[in-house]
């Protein structure tokens, strides 16, 4: 066990994967000598050299396209996209190629690429250094989507991703890269996909949150306790595959649900969760399902603190759910 920040845990996860398997390599912009703009790849260039830590030209199309080619050939590439906001030049390769390669070839060409990208708001990054578009990837059959909220999960989910056989979109909540620290198991620590983490047990209302929304959701639960409301906080950790069992069990217990995410509301992951609950937990529901999300506007700069959900607004929605009917 070592006390690490989230970004350090990512760094250790990468190092661990590269040490244990010579087929693992990483590629992206400014990840070599510079160690990544968030320092997630710090030290790796020195340890593994330029044949395994590849600084690429400025082309996400090229990064993901070549990573797919490497994976087809049998390597295990991990591509870094500098900010999730810059993944769109690679979107065709991701949704048309990476997600469908195994399927369309009848299983002849599995294609295992991990794409890492820092995402989300809270760093005063404005429109293009703040977005949360996990729903695009969740809606694309063939991709797995993992989002850690703690250092231990960051390393554990990353190592699972690297050893998985399917493409994984690995989204790192950059707002808590350094804001959160925690004990991280040394060595080959793995956290299974499709297994939610019960962050806090409770019986009155279920709060679902992932990534950088977990800390304010826990804070909200703290506020609520003072009012006698015991909120359960659940972090799904992977959106695809989703631990439906844990989610349904929680709502069957509490009868009330609030989903939290930074992404814009319309067609966000909160819609999917609400729809699952409205279908499969319908008879347990005692109140309308709440969503606390980013607004359906582009991500602002000066006013990001008002755009992002916070403990107050999450608590407010939870209260409404508990008071309903």
């Amino acid at each position: 066990m070592t006390e690490l920040t989230l970004v350090q845990a990512v760094n250790r996860g990468l190092a661990e994967a590269m040490r244990s398997d010579p087929d693992v390599l990483i590629l992206g912009e400014d990840i070599g000598v510079n160690g990544g703009v968030f320092r997630a790849t710090e030290g790796l260039f020195k340890e593994f050299g330029e044949s395994r830590v590849i600084d690429t030209p400025l082309s996400e199309t090229g990064i993901v396209g070549t990573a797919i080619g490497m994976a087809l050939y049998g390597l295990k590439p991990i591509a870094e996209i500098q900010f999730l906001d810059f993944i769109y030049p690679a979107f065709d390769q991701i949704v048309s190629e990476l997600a469908k390669m195994r399927y369309r070839s009848g299983g002849q060409f599995p294609c295992h690429v991990v794409i890492r990208a820092p995402y989300g708001g809270g760093i005063k990054g404005g429109l293009y250094h703040s977005q949360s578009t996990e729903a695009y990837f969740c809606h694309t059959a063939g991709l797995k989507v993992a989002i850690p909220s703690t250092p231990a999960d960051a390393k554990g989910l990353l190592l699972t991703a690297v050893h998985d056989e399917d493409p994984v979109i690995f989204l790192e909540p950059k707002r808590i890269y350094r804001a959160v620290t925690g004990e991280v198991p040394d060595g080959d620590h793995r956290v299974p996909f499709g297994s939610a983490r019960v962050v806090r047990e409770g019986s009155d209302v279920s709060l679902f949150a992932y990534g950088a929304m977990v800390p304010p959701t826990v804070e909200a639960a703290d506020l609520l306790v003072k009012e006698g409301i015991r909120a359960e906080v659940i972090d799904p950790r992977t959106l695809v595959p989703l631990d439906e069992a844990a989610i349904l069990a929680s709502v069957e217990k509490t009868g009330r649900a609030v989903v939290v995410h930074e992404a814009a509301r319309c067609c966000g992951f909160g819609g999917e969760l609400a729809a699952i609950l409205a279908e499969k937990a319908f008879y347990s529901l005692k109140a309308p399902i709440g969503r606390v999300t980013g607004y359906d506007t582009p991500f602002p700069y000066a006013l990001e603190h008002l755009y992002l959900p916070n403990a107050e607004t999450i608590a407010h929605a939870a209260r409404s759910a508990v008071q309903a009917s």
Binding site: T66, G74, G106, Q108, K144, E244
Partner: protein, 362 residues
């Protein structure tokens, strides 16, 4: 494949040990592959009209470029095709029935009935799964070449694409990465003069497509793509440079799409009969047949036989593939992931459930 075994001296062709010359004993096989592809094209255009296959994209006019390239590379080289590279797959050993199974999407189809016709994948031939989006295979070919570099495998990867694809994002990114990392990649552009209805001249204002390689710091060469020897030579040279570590090459094989873009296309709407006639005179099969007849490697009767054999083979394969059962319904759920997720298993269970009709997730 690119054997350089010496052959009996021939009065017409001076003896040579030139390693880039298509070996004389490969000329007749090359012709056979070209005839076989043409025979497939002819039959499949008809099959589509009869509703026996759903779609077809013929390669007629491009046989010499494809077969010449396929003979110049090695079995462990990797091919990254688009949807029109059937002759490459055949020459590398994909069986005729496996081709027909794919065109029919039956239960023997290696792509499991999941792709439109012509979007082949033959892992045994290192013929990577083709997709419809234009150009995407180009960066992938470069990535596989980077992987081969890392593993120190002395192989090349070949990216196949058309004149239209030179406008794609992946062309630019793939060429650039190849230049920067000096990858062992051959960019084989079959410039068939048309991208559906857009003529080459409106695709880009560069004089040749090959010269685009300059922008990425490596050589680009133009070859007559109706000449199987010229293509063989260009590819063999490029291959040697690549495995030596001297980096990529772009080859522009100038050809013509003699047929429609696909069975959904009516080329009469946008191109003249004269232009087609002009190029029909440059049919790569006619050219090679002429050479073979002149060299005495085949006579008219022998040629006739080659065509008959090819057509018979195709007919037999069609008959065989048409006897194969259709795709099983639940194959729809396989290979989305290595192991199905619980959500997918649930969707499949609901699909299997006999108490509801099929079609769409409930």
């Amino acid at each position: 494949m690119a054997s350089t075994a010496s052959v009996a001296p021939d009065p017409q062709v001076p003896p040579t040990t030139d390693p880039f010359d298509l070996p004389k004993d490969q000329l007749l096989p090359a012709y056979r592959w070209m005839v076989l592809s043409r025979a497939i094209d002819e039959r499949c255009l008809a099959l589509q009209r009869q509703g026996r296959i759903g779609f077809y994209a013929p390669l007629m006019g491009q046989e010499a470029a494809q077969v010449g390239c396929a003979l110049a590379v090695r079995p462990d080289d990797w091919m990254f095709p688009a949807y029109r590279e059937l002759a490459v797959a055949l020459t590398r050993g994909a069986s005729l029935t496996s081709v027909l199974d794919q065109l029919m999407g039956n239960s023997s189809d290696l792509t499991k009935g999941r792709q439109m016709p012509n979007h082949f994948a033959f892992a045994d031939q290192h013929y990577v799964s083709a997709s419809s989006p234009i150009g995407t295979q180009i960066t992938q070919a470069v990535g596989a070449a980077m992987a081969a570099q890392r593993r120190k495998d002395p192989i090349v990867t070949v990216a196949f694409f058309g004149d239209g694809a030179t406008s794609s994002n992946d062309f630019h990114a793939g060429m650039n990465f190849a230049g920067v990392f000096r990858t062992p990649t051959i960019f084989l552009c079959q410039n068939n003069q048309w991208a559906i209805s857009l003529p080459r001249a409106k695709q880009t204002r560069s004089k040749t497509l090959a010269e685009k390689a300059d922008a990425y710091g490596f050589p680009g060469v133009v070859v007559d793509g109706t000449d199987v020897r010229a293509v063989y030579r260009a590819v063999a040279e490029a291959r040697q440079r690549a495995v030596r570590g001297d980096g990529p090459t772009m080859i522009e094989a100038q050809v013509y799409r003699l047929g429609p873009h696909s069975t959904s296309d009516d080329p009469k709407r946008y191109r003249s009969d004269e232009e087609v006639a002009h190029w029909k005179e440059r049919d790569p099969l006619t050219r090679l047949r002429g050479e073979l007849l002149a060299a005495g490697a085949v006579d008219a009767a022998g040629d006739q036989k080659i065509w008959e054999d090819a057509r018979a083979q195709v007919a037999a394969a069609i008959a065989e593939s048409e006897r194969i059962a259709p795709m099983a319904p639940d194959s729809m759920f396989g290979d989305v992931f290595s192991v199905p997720t619980p959500q997918l298993e649930e969707e499949q269970r609901s699909f299997d459930a006999s108490d509801r009709p099929h079609g769409g997730a409930p």
